[in-house]
């Protein structure tokens, strides 16, 4: 006999197949970044006027673009700039954010107020506009893009680091560590920093994904990478003009961006879950 039961809710667990696919994709991506030749031997910049806009087929897996270049080879080659921009700007933002965050947490009233305002100012200007501003000041190219994207993402890290440091500063176990007789520096190095880095690393992982997407937007607006470079955003930007004739050159690079960001998100969220699980005692 069964009495009426209350609504059945889903036990929330990360979906394994998605995670596995995400990890597998990232491994593939890593190969594309480190050793693109392992995936294809075709030169991504080999323009051939006689091979223009060939549909996907035996010779060209994903077809060719408006310059007769192999789309698959270009997607593989495009992984490196995209991923490197993502990693470099995230690393830069992480560094700046950590410094600002610690200052904001430990810099006393004045330091904290200054840092908060500074972050507010950066947040007040839409991210893309800031990146564009950086490009306007520094000129277009990879360097300014990295700088601009780092500037935009810094407040996120700074806020998180600041919150973490404050949380940890007041955490019982950090006080306990002081009580055990460690010096201030020892406490910071042994307890505060390692515990703060967990969530920050997770954010950085997720940040790489969103930065890749933002960098693509920049190229789309014509302010990022330039021909004949193989870069995903640029590939999309250029190939949309040929959509009616060659959908493949305008679709596959988009899928590459989406899949990369998605894979990073899935893996990042998994890390986050694991981390939160560890923190919840």
């Amino acid at each position: 006999m069964t009495a009426p039961t209350v609504p059945v809710g889903a036990p929330r667990r990360p979906v394994r197949p998605a995670l596995l696919t995400g990890v597998a994709f990232l491994v593939l991506l890593a190969v594309a970044v480190i050793a693109p030749r392992a995936l294809t031997s075709i030169d991504p910049t080999a323009a051939d006027p006689l091979q223009i806009l060939q549909p996907p087929g035996a010779g060209h897996w994903l077809g060719t673009d408006q310059n007769g270049r192999d789309v698959f080879a270009r997607i593989v080659a495009g992984a490196r700039p995209s991923v490197l921009i993502g990693i470099f700007s995230s690393a830069l933002a992480l560094l700046a954010g950590t410094v600002l965050g610690v200052l904001g947490a430990k810099g006393g009233r004045v330091g904290s107020a200054i840092v908060t305002r500074l972050l507010d100012i950066v947040l007040a200007v839409p991210g893309l506009l800031l990146v564009l501003l950086a490009v306007a000041v520094l000129g277009s190219g990879t360097g300014p893009a990295v700088a601009g994207l780092a500037l935009v993402t810094t407040p996120g890290y700074a806020r998180l680091v600041r919150g973490e440091v404050i949380r940890l500063r007041d955490a019982e176990f950090v006080r306990a560590a002081h009580g055990l007789g460690w010096t201030r520096t020892q406490v910071v190095l042994r307890h505060v920093v390692p515990n703060a880095m967990g969530p920050v690393t997770v954010l950085a992982t997720l940040g790489i994904g969103s930065t890749i997407a933002a960098a693509a937007s920049l190229s789309y607006l014509g302010l990022g990478a330039q021909e004949p470079a193989a870069e995903w955003g640029l590939m999309l930007s250029v190939s949309t003009a040929y959509f009616s004739r060659a959908w493949w050159s305008a679709v596959f690079p988009g899928i590459a961006i989406t899949a990369t960001v998605l894979a990073i998100t899935v893996v990042g969220h998994h890390l986050q879950l694991r981390f939160d699980g560890r923190r919840a005692s």
Partner: protein
């Protein structure tokens, strides 16, 4: 007593609750049976996780997310609830069975006014016409003893004290005049004085004809108003019967252990856990030299609105080697702050604290660090005081590491310390979060013992633990004091616990010490009215035996 022929309001047989499905399914309530009639109070007692709350919620069809309920019989006012539709259940909830949830402070929506919450129940069950609702809300609030109901009705939960919130919650539960009220731990988290008032309120409802299912882990609370008691353990009822019999003459070993573990019932120095070894004889050190001495301590905090708050005001005390100083008082009275000042954490805004005659402030930072190692702290929530990344072994070894003990030696000492607090040394590899609450507290104690402590600050070390576990920890602390001659500063809001462990006691209120002295003097012959009211409010186990209508302190 209840006429035999009358249909009981609740009739439950073989209630089983399972969470999860398939292989993940876990049954947490295994066949609970009881009946409840009008004007009757049935109490369910048992340790944490024994299934009390799940049982209670099942009676309203709210076992919990993912829960499945089976029962041989589940009759509510004579109707078979197993066949209820969700719609019918909604009529039962609040209409026939009212529920006061375990977490009183979180059971009112913080963003809605008290009146809105009560009105919800009135609207759902169409108890009164819409026009009459405000009036009814005020009546209900008045009925549960909320002063100024008109004002309170328009306030938000955060503007009410804990006691008022609990009353308001009871008002929402009885708004549609249910015949049965299920009250899940209605007094936990309340200060003793407020606790007594809420119990009086429930007793009055019962006298007015309401059937009451009272759930508590506190035997003393139950003993005051329960007609019948069910003792649960691991989802099963291990003993049941009239309250007087069960508490006065427990049959089941578990019940006996529960009763024995209540500290207030036992004099200082006696064992609380039944299965523990006999206590080592405690060396008499009443004349031990003064280790810590505080004089006229003051601490003032700035409040966010720009004012200031004197958390500690003119506190003086001395801690002697091998002795225990107890500090009691309600929440926010300044107990923790006093403890911290005494142990050299934070500078007092007035007064001095000296260690072996020399003020904390006169020590260099390096000296202070070394000195602090001999004055460790054990917190209420040990898990929070461990680095979440550390294993048990690493946690316990940390003070040794600070002191420069070499690694192999450390490993040996950790095993020894874990053994000393009654933990299997193999646990060293685990993470604290994989341990039970009692085990964690033992780890914290082991860490405190690492460097031959002189005085240990115990800040509510057992408040989060079940009575039986609490008993073991208190016994352990007593054993360590006897064998190692450690002194304790023991902070607790539980008078029974403080009385059990202390040689000397401070009673605090609003940052001041209202009474101070030998534990027996203070508890037997309280001078200050606040101490008296505290002691009066403490429900004690022997109340039902004496069938007193109101709590009174036994001699």
């Amino acid at each position: 007593m209840t006429p035999v022929l009358e249909v009981p309001l609740l009739d439950v047989t073989d209630l089983r609750v399972t969470f999860g499905h398939g292989r993940a399914a876990r049954e947490v309530v295994h066949g609970v049976s009881f009946t409840l009639a009008a004007s009757e109070c049935v109490a369910i007692v048992g340790e944490s996780g024994s299934g009390k709350s799940v049982t209670a919620r099942s009676l309203l069809g709210l076992a919990g997310i993912g829960g499945t309920v089976h029962a041989g019989r589940l009759d509510i006012a004579g109707e078979d609830a197993r066949a209820f539709t969700e719609r019918r259940w909604r009529q039962v909830r609040g209409g026939q069975v009212g529920l006061v949830l375990q977490d009183a402070l979180g059971s009112l929506d913080p963003v809605r006014k008290v009146a809105a919450e009560i009105t919800d129940a009135l609207r759902t069950h169409r108890t009164v016409t819409p026009a009459q609702r405000p009036q009814r809300v005020h009546e209900l609030l008045a009925a549960v003893g909320v002063p100024d109901p008109e004002i309170r009705a328009q306030q938000y939960p955060h503007q009410l004290s804990g006691g008022l919130r609990q009353r308001a919650l009871i008002a929402t539960a009885i708004a549609a005049d249910p015949a049965v009220l299920v009250a899940d731990e209605p007094t936990t988290a309340l200060d003793v004085t407020v606790q007594a008032q809420v119990l009086d309120l429930l007793a009055a409802r019962k006298d007015a004809g309401m059937a009451l299912l009272l759930i508590s882990h506190d035997l003393a609370v139950v003993s005051r108003i329960a007609d019948r008691v069910l003792v649960m353990k691991d989802g099963e009822v291990v003993e049941s019967g009239p309250g007087r019999e069960v508490l006065g003459d427990p049959r089941h070993a578990y019940t006996r252990r529960l009763i024995a573990a209540v500290p207030s019932a036992h004099p200082r120095g006696s064992r609380l856990s039944l299965d523990a070894a006999p206590a080592p004889t405690r060396p008499v050190l009443s004349g031990g030299e003064v280790v810590l001495e505080a004089h006229d301590l003051r601490k003032v905090y700035a409040t966010p609105d720009g004012g200031s708050l004197t958390a500690v005001d003119g506190v003086s005390l001395a801690v002697r080697a091998g002795r225990t100083v107890g500090v009691v008082g309600e929440s926010g009275s300044g107990k923790t702050t006093t403890g911290h000042l005494l142990f050299g954490y934070g500078r007092p805004d007035g007064g001095t604290v000296s260690v072996d005659g020399r003020a904390w402030a006169d020590h260099s930072p390096a000296e202070l660090r070394r000195l602090h190692q001999r004055f460790p702290v054990v917190h209420q929530d040990p898990a929070a005081s461990f680095d979440p990344r550390y294993t048990v072994g690493r946690t316990v070894a940390e003070p040794l590491q600070v002191a420069g003990v070499p690694r192999p030696e450390r490993r040996r000492r950790v095993a020894e310390l874990l053994g000393r607090v009654g933990l299997d040394p193999a646990l060293a590899e685990r993470h604290p979060r994989q341990l039970s609450g009692g085990q964690r507290q033992r780890v914290a104690i082991a860490r405190a013992l690492a460097l031959e402590p002189r005085v240990v600050l115990c800040d509510e070390p057992v408040s989060a633990l079940d009575v039986s576990v609490q008993a073991q920890i208190l016994d352990l602390l007593a054993d360590l004091q006897a064998t190692l001659g450690i002194a304790y500063v023991f902070i607790s809001h539980d008078l029974g616990v403080v009385r059990h462990v202390s040689d000397e006691v401070l009673v605090m209120q609003h940052g001041r010490v209202v009474e101070q002295g030998d534990v027996e003097d203070v508890f037997e012959r309280p001078q200050h009215p606040y101490t008296k009211s505290l002691l009066d409010a403490v429900p004690t186990l022997d109340a039902p035996l004496r069938a007193a209508p109101h709590p009174s302190r036994s001699a």
